[in-house]
């Protein structure tokens, strides 16, 4: 019974999907099974994973956030502009990161006001704030591409934890970010599973009225969620700027779907109340693995978006079929009990 339950879990399915996909690609091109490729997938996953953790928290709470990429690039770009304007220490890495997190949390605060304060449906509220943030950034903070970002951030993009030359002569690099990202991932997991706040996020996704009856403040929990997500997005935004070695205010907009896709593929229920950090990590890795390596399979890069779409439709279809079966089973069980 336990094994059956384990097999039915989304994470298990995803692990199998990852294994099958790697075997298929690996058999077609040996380049796939190299350390360099693994590290590349990891490097392209960092920023997305940070965004995805934020989205996971929102989705567990029964909401949806589409403003996070805008919050991220707003925070990252503004932090760089502020560094310039106030001539802060260019060497420092901590200053821009702190700035970006604070800006992100403030923007998240605006989402919190709209959602917790006024009870606007989350999708509509965040669509609106995304428009406001983007419009304000491009008309007042700047609409031009900054290619010479502060030295500290620039140097950070090449800060490697492991660096060696492989037999084939290519440079294999593992970025130092792998440690902080892993720490944050574990911290979010602990936050969700081991704290009162985390449990109230799950409760909120399960149902608003029951949560209220439990004595949990809905508004306060929602406010915390959106500010936390804002802060996480701000961090992701500045790291994106650092890794890209340029601050382009037009970037990231439109990337929300890929992140939501990863979280949903990871098994989080869009109705709220269910989702795991492990599943999200797998979802992000799977999507990045696919995007990075479809070319090896002979799929041209212009079909990548369609591939993500197919994957997403398949993922939600499988989930929906599972849900329908479950509710049917529960119904027949309830009927039997009656008899």
């Amino acid at each position: 019974m336990n094994i059956r339950k384990l097999l039915r879990r989304n994470e298990t399915v995803l692990i199998f999907a990852i294994i099958i996909f790697s075997l298929v690609i690996g058999s077609k091109s040996p380049e796939f099974f190299t350390t360099a490729n693994l590290f590349d997938i990891l490097r392209s996953s960092f920023v997305q994973l940070l965004f995805a953790l934020g989205v996971l928290i929102v989705i567990i709470s029964g909401g949806i956030d589409v403003s996070f990429p805008i919050v991220g690039i707003f925070a990252g770009y503004t932090a760089v502009v502020m560094m310039r304007k106030f001539q802060l220490n260019e060497e420092s890495l901590l200053i821009p990161i702190t700035l970006a997190i604070i800006i992100g949390a403030i923007l998240g605060g605006f989402n919190a006001i709209a959602i917790a304060g006024f009870g606007i449906p989350t999708l509509i509220a965040t669509l609106g704030t995304a428009g406001i943030f983007r419009g304000l950034m491009l008309s007042f903070i700047g609409a031009s591409f900054i290619s010479d970002i502060p030295v500290g951030l620039d140097n950070f993009s090449t800060a490697d934890l492991i660096k060696f030359e492989s037999d084939a002569g290519t440079l294999v690099r593992l970025h130092v970010l792998v440690i902080p990202v892993a720490v944050i991932t574990i911290a979010v997991s602990l936050l969700l599973n081991r704290t009162i706040f985390g449990r109230s996020v799950y409760a909120l996704g399960g149902g608003i009225e029951p949560t209220r009856r439990l004595g949990i403040s809905i508004k306060r929990t929602q406010a915390k969620i959106y500010m936390l997500v804002g802060g996480l997005s701000g961090l992701a935004g500045i790291l994106y700027v650092s890794l890209q070695r340029k601050a382009n205010p037009y970037d990231l907009a439109g990337s929300e779907l890929d992140v939501i896709a990863a979280v949903v593929l990871g098994g989080a229920s869009i109705m709220g109340g269910y989702g795991t950090v492990f599943g999200t990590v797998l979802g992000v890795l799977f999507i990045n693995m696919m995007k990075n390596n479809l070319v090896l399979l002979g799929v041209s890069s212009s079909w990548q978006r369609a591939a993500v779409g197919v994957l997403l439709v398949l993922g939600i279809t499988i989930q929906a079929i599972g849900e329908n079966r479950k509710s049917k089973r529960q119904k027949t069980a309830a009927n039997k009990e009656k008899e």
Binding site: A125, I132, G135, S139, L257, V264, A306, I316, N324
Partner: protein, 341 residues
């Protein structure tokens, strides 16, 4: 019974009140821009260009409105409209390059294929939402990526341009002095208005939006109604796509990404309840006109297009806040009233 009648009549009044409010708002915006930039805003050229720009976004908004009336949402509208426009444009240009000339018959065939694509996309949405019970947000988010991805894949991300003259004439011509797209929009709006207010399907749509559970228990075939909603939404989106292609003489996979936000802003501003159950086509069309005036007015005053984006978001959030505040006040008032009696 009498009480119920009374409640129904007040809700009817409320319906009219929203449209009346919006009409007042429209006049207000109109006056403001007329005062501030009379020379540019208050010219026949400006009104003509607005009449060409309003229809496409109005039709897309009507498509979103239909799904919102049932309590869902359709985010794939722009994906569908671009896919439909691309297919039609592709058939036309292929035919043109083969023979150099193109007959009206082929243009009609191309348009019909575009509409067919819209219907197919709508059916895919319907299968996901009505049969598999996927949440509309998630389903249409996924299909939006899918349709857009397929469009990019087929075209390699390049737009198809140089469409035949007869086709462009539809998008840029006039019909008894009125721009043709505008005439088409009025016809479509009238059709959807008739559908919502005068047919069984429309009534069921509103009932499902008001209370899905109650609709299920009254065995009206709620899944079938929802399926029709998304198919209709796909159909309207494909029409909007064809009009856009005819006006701009091009079809591109990434045209009008900002239209999703705009369409939702318009629908909410037009007085549709995002949780379903209430809304009018008149409201949506009026809201489109308001936002187009704001856009043209900002242009005339030389504000940047990004400022307009911020204004769209601001309007959306402000209208939603205003709605909740007014709603709370109304509920409190009625509670107090019942406490008093």
């Amino acid at each position: 019974m009498n009480e119920r009648l009374q409640r129904m009549s007040t809700s009817g009044l409320l319906a009219d009140r929203k449209v009346t409010q919006l009409m007042g708002f429209t006049t207000f915006i109109f006056l403001i821009f007329t005062i501030f930039s009379f020379n540019i805003f208050f010219t026949p050229e400006n009104f003509r260009s607005m009449a060409y720009q309003v229809p496409e976004i109005a039709i897309l908004s009507i498509a979103v409105m239909l799904s919102m009336l049932t309590g869902g949402i359709d985010l794939s509208i722009v994906g569908i409209s671009n896919a439909a426009a691309l297919v039609a444009a592709y058939i036309m240009t292929e035919q043109m390059s083969a023979t150099g000339e193109i007959s009206s018959l082929w243009i009609i065939i191309a348009c019909l294929s575009g509409i067919l694509i819209g219907l197919i996309c709508g059916v895919i949405n319907s299968i996901l939402i009505a049969i598999l019970n996927v949440t509309p947000i998630l389903a249409t988010l996924a299909t939006m990526t899918l349709f857009n991805g397929i469009a990019i894949g087929i075209t390699n991300g390049i737009s198809v341009s140089d469409l035949p003259k007869q086709f462009i004439r539809v998008g840029n011509g006039t019909f008894f002095g009125i721009p043709t797209p505008f005439v088409l929009m009025v016809a479509i709006a009238a059709f959807v208005g008739f559908l919502i207010n005068r047919t069984g399907l429309g009534l069921k749509l509103l009932l499902i939006g008001t209370n899905r559970k109650a609709a299920q228990y009254s065995v009206m075939g709620d899944r079938k109604v929802i399926a029709w909603t998304y198919i209709l939404s796909g159909f309207l989106s494909s029409l909007a796509g064809l009009i856009i292609a005819a006006r701009t003489s091009a079809a591109s996979p990434d045209f009008g990404n900002s239209y999703i936000l705009l369409a939702i802003v318009i629908v909410v501003l037009g007085g549709i309840n995002p949780l379903g159950g209430f809304g009018t086509v008149t409201g949506v069309v009026l809201a489109t006109v308001v936002l187009q005036m704001v856009s043209s007015g900002f242009n005339a005053l030389r504000f940047s297009q990004f400022f307009y984006l911020a204004a769209q978001g601001g309007v959306l959030v402000a209208v939603m806040i205003l709605n909740t505040v007014l709603e709370n006040r109304r509920v409190n008032k009625s509670i107090n009233k019942s406490l008093e009696s």
